[in-house]
């Protein structure tokens, strides 16, 4: 693994299948590979049902992967015993989408934030309380909030509590699963600013899962686009937006409404046909071919592999790579 020294998180051919009625398999994540450097943010985008949240949860260890490697800081966490895993997962935390559902309504803010510290037996009661106060300050709340319950807070404040909770055990890697999609525009910016500030101060590594591309663009160094359990394109943020290669990425970008009437009037958006196929019976070959306007017979036969177009720009599409 010596050539991967700068790849803090390395996911190789990760698969997560769920068994559904009878012998059928739902291929939620079907062989994705990517890396994240230390201190970097990788955005993972795609429509609902594409497997992005399952991927995040599997990397965190909430699901057992069907196949594949998850190497974090040089260690394959799929091979750890449960005891080692508990120790190791201190390095990974998650921030969830819905700040209303992810906080136990019967616990005080201070208990919620300190829960991880208690589980990992970090510090006495006093030091824990001091830590809770520090964390509240760090996320822009104050220590008077510690004894209150989640229902006394607004959505944005709850998400701050969720962030403080994730930061309590000093993780190095945070998976943010749609952390702002439940919030209002004006509050979204506050939370994104906080995440950016914390990353700089604490040198955190983020996997930022979202479907809102404008926020993803702002926070990510690189972006991976997922479709039906597979990655179709990965590139650094500028290239992904300015030098888009995969037809799906193009359609996804053109579908985002822009807050500028003149732009919207001129825009010729690429309308995708139909909807996401089922991941129980995905189409043969390229899974996107059923909705792709450039699909040929070759697309039905062979599955396209992620191929490097430039140094840091990978795409899985026969139409793009056949020209090369």
């Amino acid at each position: 693994m010596d050539n991967h020294y700068d790849k803090f998180v390395l996911v190789e051919y990760l698969q997560k299948y769920f068994r559904v009625s009878g012998k059928q398999k739902l291929k939620a994540v079907d062989g994705i590979s990517f890396y994240i450097k230390r201190g970097e943010t990788l955005g993972l985008v795609g429509e609902s049902g594409c497997g992005k949240s399952t991927a995040g949860k599997t990397i965190l260890g909430l699901h057992k992967p069907t196949n594949g490697k998850i190497i974090i800081d040089g260690q394959d966490i799929t091979k750890l015993s449960s005891k080692e895993k508990k120790q190791f997962t201190r390095k990974i935390q998650m921030i969830f989408q819905d700040p209303y559902a992810s906080l136990n309504p019967r616990m005080t803010v201070s208990d919620l934030i300190a829960e991880g510290l208690t589980i990992h037996k970090m510090g006495s009661k006093d030091t824990k309380l001091r830590k809770v106060h520090e964390l509240l300050k760090l996320v822009g709340l104050n220590k008077e909030h510690a004894s209150r319950f989640p229902h006394e807070f607004s959505g944005g404040q709850r998400q701050r509590i969720g962030i403080a909770r994730a930061l309590a055990i000093e993780p190095e890697f945070i998976i943010c699963d749609e952390p702002v999609s439940a919030l209002d525009v004006s509050i979204q910016a506050q939370v994104i600013n906080l995440l950016i500030k914390l990353q700089k101060e604490l040198h955190l590594t983020y996997l930022f899962i979202a479907h809102d591309l404008s926020m993803v663009r702002h926070i990510s160094d690189r972006i991976a686009v997922m479709y039906l359990g597979k990655l179709v394109e990965i590139a650094d943020t500028t290239n992904l937006f300015e030098n888009t290669l995969h037809p799906y990425t193009k359609a996804l970008l053109s579908a985002i409404p822009i807050a500028d009437p003149h732009y919207e009037d001129k825009k010729q958006s690429i309308q995708l046909r139909g909807e996401l196929p089922s991941s129980i019976n995905p189409p043969s070959g390229c899974t996107f071919r059923t909705r792709c306007e450039f699909a040929t017979s070759a697309c039905a036969e062979k599955e396209p592999k992620l191929i490097a177009i430039t140094n840091d720009h990978f795409v899985a599409c026969h139409q793009v790579t056949s020209d090369k």
């Binding site: 209002d184 004006s186 404008s214 990510s220 985002i256 409404p257 822009i258 309308q271």
Partner: protein, 344 residues
């Protein structure tokens, strides 16, 4: 253009255990034939309560509509209508599509029958004819294999298909007004684009007037003819699309537009954000509701509510900055600009 809906001094309170929440505070506006009017604002600003009151869908036990309020449609005050008269308008003349199609559809009823239902109520038609018409409607909204799908239940539909079914139900009786309350918030962007295009095409074909309730400025930019911005139960600025996007006057409208990340902005730089949260409508502030969060707040703003200032025939704003004695400001930069620079 002809006015088809006229709302005057609409005030709605909710009685809760904590006290009276003043959800909508004395708003007036009109809707014209064949236009798309967008109502934008953050959650809790009263936009959904306003739209539901037009359909008289608010819970009568807790929601109190002030006696001076008027919602005039077709010469009659909707708020005063009873039983049969109300039924005649609801679903036939004014229809609504909701944010979450799964909870708005009946899970125990075939979709075809749900579309046929309103036709059976409002027109003299046999069941068979109504079902036939329902299938036609489902075809119109672009449901694949409509004949077969009409016999299926909502749980067999995807999110996008459910929203199409809801639109079919709403438009079955060719209403004069369609209220769309966050119609695509629960959907993915590619499906959202399909649904928005569908709504726009149908609107042009049927000449329906639409009230589009949303918090997404991107959708507003592509869809609306006129826009009303709501904050804390009041309309704080209104105007046609170009005015609100290119020449907004209210600091809250500026803030909303500035909160959207721009392409020109350096990545990972500080995004503009509005500090604080909207006021508690149990005790709405005496002066301007936005004063607490406003960068340009003056002493008068906390004391007295601002009056409406007319900017143009179509644009008006409620802000003390418009007063002749107020300091002349340069509007903040960063209001305009597309979010991503992908070539078209």
């Amino acid at each position: 253009m002809k006015k088809i809906l006229d709302i005057k001094n609409l005030t709605i309170d909710f009685n809760t255990y904590a006290g009276r929440i003043q959800a909508v505070r004395n708003i007036s506006f009109s809707l014209y034939e064949g236009e798309i009017l967008a109502i934008v604002g953050e959650s809790g600003c009263g936009k959904t309560v306003t739209s539901k009151s037009i359909m008289r869908l608010l819970p009568e036990a807790t929601a109190q509509v002030n006696n001076h309020s008027e919602i005039i449609f077709d010469g009659q005050n909707v708020l005063k209508l009873k039983g049969k008269e109300l039924k005649k308008i609801r679903g036939d003349e004014i229809a609504m599509i909701f944010q979450d199609p799964m909870s708005a559809l009946n899970p125990t009823m075939k979709v075809g029958h749900q579309v046929a239902e309103s036709l059976l109520i409002h027109t003299k038609i046999t069941k068979k004819q109504a079902f036939k018409e329902a299938v036609q409607m489902l075809k119109l909204v672009g449901l694949p294999m409509a004949e077969k799908r009409a016999h299926e239940y909502p749980n067999q539909y995807s999110g996008g298909m459910r929203q199409r079914a809801m639109i079919a139900i709403a438009l079955a009786c060719k209403p004069k007004i369609l209220i769309a309350d966050e119609p695509t918030t629960a959907l993915d962007v590619t499906i959202q684009a399909q649904i928005m295009k569908l709504i726009k095409t149908l609107q042009a074909d049927l000449n329906t007037a639409i009230i589009l309730v949303t918090h997404d400025l991107g959708i507003v930019a592509g869809m609306a003819d006129r826009i009303q911005v709501m904050y804390a139960g009041q309309i704080i600025e209104r105007g046609v699309r170009e005015e609100l996007f290119y020449d907004p006057q209210h600091p809250y409208t500026w803030a909303l537009l500035r909160s959207v990340p721009k392409v020109s902005q350096k990545s990972k730089s500080q995004l503009y954000s509005i500090t604080g949260t909207p006021p508690d409508l149990l005790y709405p502030p005496k002066g301007c509701a936005f004063a607490e969060r406003c960068e340009y707040c003056m002493p008068i703003c906390r004391k007295d509510p601002p009056v409406e200032t007319i900017i143009s025939k179509t644009q008006s704003v409620n802000c003390w900055l418009q007063h002749k004695d107020a300091p002349k400001l340069n509007k903040p930069s960063g209001l305009k600009g597309v979010i991503h620079g992908q070539s078209l």
